[in-house]
Symmetry: C2
Subunit: 204 residues, 2 copies
DNA sequence: AAATATATTAACCATATGGTTAAACCAACC
DNA sequence: GGTTGGTTTAACCATATGGTTAATATATTT
């Protein structure tokens, strides 16, 4: 096999790179083909359309993150552990998968319906009632007096915002504040800062 | 005048709407034209190219937010006041200018060089050494023992993340957690939650 | 009112782009 | 060695799209 079955995989990788750099409409099929070092017709042979290739790439990527967070988010029974472990996992994953993040970010803005569908599909099959269960768990923590944020939704938004945003807004942050982001030092500091803020700010 | 000078303004508005919905390459000049209710040739008559129109729209939008935050960010001498006032201004502005946010968000991902230039231009002329001064001010607060976050950059990233992210990630948050965002109730709660978290988490 | 400058339009153009096709290639099996 | 089924390619195609042009309408100036 070797070369043969590689093609599909190479296309998916090239697709991720291109789509995450240029968005759906900015991406050219020719460029994906040349990046994957195959003839353009192969794209359509394996994936039938740009739209479809895009969805496959997205699915492929979404499936990568879910298993990583599922265990923490569902199994952790203690708010302190939750606020210590989740940011580290999120931030490390995001900093290691910036293409993925960019692609998601594009969808957040532009192709909202599609990403809703993709997430529903993927969450539906692999994640079940996850999100609702998490909200319930957080509510219980509040009722027991373990945390100070009364609204579970904002509790979660706070965490995700602090972990993700820096990696989306990276270029502008670098420009405005004239500092480099993305090296290991920044990431470690980011993890620390987020965990400190969350624990001190939401734990009782 | 009336109808006449309107055209340019109408084009800029239509441009903002279209560019923020579809990104640069996803936006069609014809659609901008029809939204602005003018002939397509007018776009090129006034703005000479898509690229140029895009930049004008972006500049137009960036200039709107800077004055709003400048005073707070430069004049506020007290960390408590800073953390109370900034989130409210940010979140209200973002929730009222979602097109603007979306357009910026596109640039953050896709056209990083351009947004760097635009910001440098606009900040350069209208904002001066603002960002550096803010970082210095925050450093002083830390040295005086008024705040617990030692890194001024992360201090600022924390604030902006918490204020902005929800409005970018809105569709996916709504999907995952099955809740509606964007109505007045959510915004008020968001402001409260952010201010609480920031004060409790970063003030000493 | 004539002349001049500005605004507006319909019809075009060149090229880029997603997608197709028909033929060739190649491995495995008989 | 030939047949079969998947894989790969070069050459095409139809259409969409950014951009142009030349003529016309509308103000503005003299």
């Amino acid at each position: 096999m070797g070369k043969k079955k590689d093609a599909k995989e190479r296309i998916l990788n090239a697709g991720l790179k291109e789509f995450s750099s240029w968005g759906f409409s900015g991406t050219r099929m020719d460029k994906i083909a040349s990046r994957a070092e195959i003839n353009k017709a192969m794209l359509f042979y394996y994936f039938s359309s740009k739209e479809n290739l895009y969805q496959e790439v997205l699915r492929h990527a979404v499936r990568k993150i879910l298993p990583k967070i599922r265990n923490i988010i569902l199994l952790e029974r203690n708010p302190k552990g939750f606020l210590e472990k989740l940011p580290e996992i999120y931030i490390n994953f995001f900093s290691e998968n910036q293409d993925f993040i960019k692609m998601i970010a594009f969808d957040l803005i532009q192709r909202t319906d599609m990403i809703k569908t993709t997430f529903k599909e993927t969450i539906g099959t692999e994640f079940h009632q996850g999100p609702q269960m998490v909200l319930k768990k957080i509510k219980k923590w509040y009722d027991k007096g373990a945390i100070s944020e009364s609204d579970p939704l904002h509790f979660m938004i706070n965490i995700i915002s602090l972990c993700l945003f820096a990696f989306i807004a990276r270029p502008i942050i670098e420009t405005i504040f004239n500092q480099k982001i993305g090296d290991q030092q920044f990431i470690q500091k980011r993890i620390k800062s987020v965990i400190n803020l969350l624990k001190q700010g939401m734990l009782k």
